[in-house]
Structure formats: structure tokens, C-alpha cells
Symmetry: C2
Subunit: 188 residues, 2 copies
């Protein structure tokens, strides 16, 4: 009976703190992925580039625009961040609705979906990081020239979105760890 009471005491003391952490991380994940999706989704830069046409005439000044949807990696990034953002707000509402903390199949579903968000956001960040790095440095082996020297503002905005998205995936990762830690506490 003493042990049982002790366990109940741990559960009662531990719950509000764990619940506060969960709500906090869900709100953080929502905000970070929302801003990341917006930052990359509205990213656009137009520059006047001098293009030589005939050697005897001065070069033509042509406006060239960089948009996020020119790169499938950036489109994927916006889509996964939008999915994660929508899921974060839905799971936040569900967590608030089940006031004492979700149980049974719902809790398992939320933990599994948190995990899927970690995977989706990580793959989106990996894809955007790879294309962003290529845009910054280029690759001489395949003659892919760097473009960030021309579209600096565009690249910096993608970089800002990338950092926020990585932080968002860390928030989802911590949510899964919190579930695992709660399990540990209840069995120790």
C-alpha cells in the first residue's frame, strides 16, 4: 500500500509539470513551423541582372526573379511545415480537451504522429539544407553555379526558415521523449 501511495504521489506531483511542458512544446512547435512555412512560402527576390547579348552593345539589364516554388525541395519544405503546424494546433486542442492528459489509443496516436512529424520535418530540413548549400557554394564537378551571391536576401530567408524548422522538429522530438520519460517515471 505504501508503494502504491508513493506512486500515486509521484503521479500527482509529476503531472502538472509534464502537462505544462507538453503544452509549451506543442505551442512552440506550432509557432516555429508556422513561421518557417511562411518565411519560405513568401520568399521572393527580383534582381536586375546584366546579360551581354552582342559584344559591340552594352549588356541588357533584365529583371530576374527567384521564387521558392522554382525548387521542389523548398515546396516540400513548405508542405511538411504546414502539415506539422496544422497537426501541432490540432494536438494542442486535443491535449487541452483531455484535461487530465490523453490516455489509451489517443495517447499512442499522438505520440506516433509526433514521431512522424520529427521524420517529415527532418527530411524537409535535409532537402532544403542540401539545395541551400548548393545555392551558396555551387558544385564545380557538375557545373552547378552558386546563386546566393545574386539572390542573397532570398537565401538568407530560406536559412532563417530552415533554422526555425529544425527547432520545430526538436520540439516534436522532445514531446516524444517526454512521453517516454513519463513511462519511465511510472515504472521506476
Amino acid at each position: 500500500m505504501d508503494t502504491q501511495n508513493g506512486n500515486n504521489y509521484v503521479k500527482e506531483v509529476g503531472k502538472p509539470k509534464a502537462r505544462f511542458s507538453e503544452l509549451g512544446f506543442r505551442f512552440l512547435a506550432f509557432s516555429l513551423t508556422l513561421v518557417a512555412a511562411i518565411l519560405v512560402g513568401v520568399d521572393k527576390q527580383t534582381k536586375i541582372v546584366a546579360i551581354p547579348v552582342v559584344s559591340t552593345l552594352p549588356p541588357l539589364n533584365v529583371p530576374v526573379t527567384a521564387k521558392f516554388h522554382y525548387f521542389s525541395a523548398f515546396v516540400y519544405f513548405v508542405v511538411v511545415n504546414a502539415i506539422a503546424c496544422a497537426y501541432a494546433i490540432i494536438s494542442l486542442v486535443l491535449t487541452l480537451a483531455t484535461r487530465g492528459g490523453s490516455k489509451g489509443g489517443l495517447a499512442l496516436m499522438i505520440t506516433t504522429l509526433d514521431l512522424v512529424m520529427v521524420a517529415l520535418l527532418s527530411s524537409g530540413s535535409g532537402a532544403t539544407g542540401a539545395i541551400g548549400l548548393m545555392g551558396m557554394h555551387g558544385n564545380s564537378h557538375v557545373q552547378w553555379k552558386k546563386v546566393c551571391n545574386v539572390f542573397g536576401k532570398f537565401c538568407h530567408q530560406v536559412l532563417a526558415g530552415l533554422v526555425l524548422s529544425v527547432l520545430g522538429s526538436v520540439a516534436f522530438l522532445l514531446l516524444v521523449v517526454i512521453s517516454a520519460r513519463n513511462f519511465q517515471k511510472k515504472h521506476m
Copy 2:
């Protein structure tokens, strides 16, 4: 007392199956990430490419080689798959050593590291997928030409490694879900 006995019965019956699944998924994750790292890590293709030098002379036939380490995304892919592979075998040994299933801090550490592997492998797959897609289709907006029409075998080998790595990350993801499910079973 009846309920307690019932719970013990569930634990006794449930354990071997869950343990078998865990060992199976760890071995699967090890094999998949090992083969993925090797496939991309040894990927190399040399092709004779005709390069025109002077318009009055026939083009020069120059051997051009594609290697995985020309692309930082592929290097990252090999590194994360090697890390995941090494971790999978270490965690497999640890799971076998703690015969009744790991408990306490060790179990939490293993679940957290499984989760980190999901994130690392997903980011590696995202990066490789983005560069692979660029190699297959190119991008007219930034004048990055496709290269897979020349280095077909090289690209197909990367694609095979990518598929295996994604399956490896799914194996780690299922390992985390198994932990969460075990927790659910013990609390239902």
C-alpha cells in the same frame, strides 16, 4: 488481486513477442543502413564524354568520373547511415545483454537514441533525395543541368541506397512506436 494477476499474465505473454519484434527491427535497421551506406559510399562511375575544343577538329573524348564525395549531401548520407548502423548493432547487443528487456535509464536512453536516428536518417534521406532529384531533372531557373542522363548507373545506385535508408528510418520509427505501445499495454 485478480486484476493484478491479469496484468502479470498480459506482461508475461506480451514480452517475448515484443522482444522478438524489437530484436527483429534492430537487426533490420542495422542491415538496411549498412547496405545503404555501402551502396552510396562505393558509388563511382566513369564515362567517356565528347568535349568539343576547336570547331574544325573532332571533339576530344575525355573520361569523366562521378564520385559520391563530390556532393556534400551524399557524404552526409553515408555518415548518418554509418552512425545509425553502428548504433543499431550496439543497441542490439545491449538488448540481448539485458535479457528480460532493458529498464530504467538505459531504456529511456535507447528510445531517445532510436528517435535521434529517425531524425538523422530522415534528414540524410531528404538531402540525398533533393540532390538526386536535381541530378535527374535539373533546374532551368538556375541553369543547373541534369547529370543522370550521363551517369545513369551512379544515380540508380544512389536511389537504391536512398530507398534502403528510408526503410531503415521506418524500422527505427517502429522501434519507438513499440516502446510507446508497450507503455500503453502496461497502463490499460
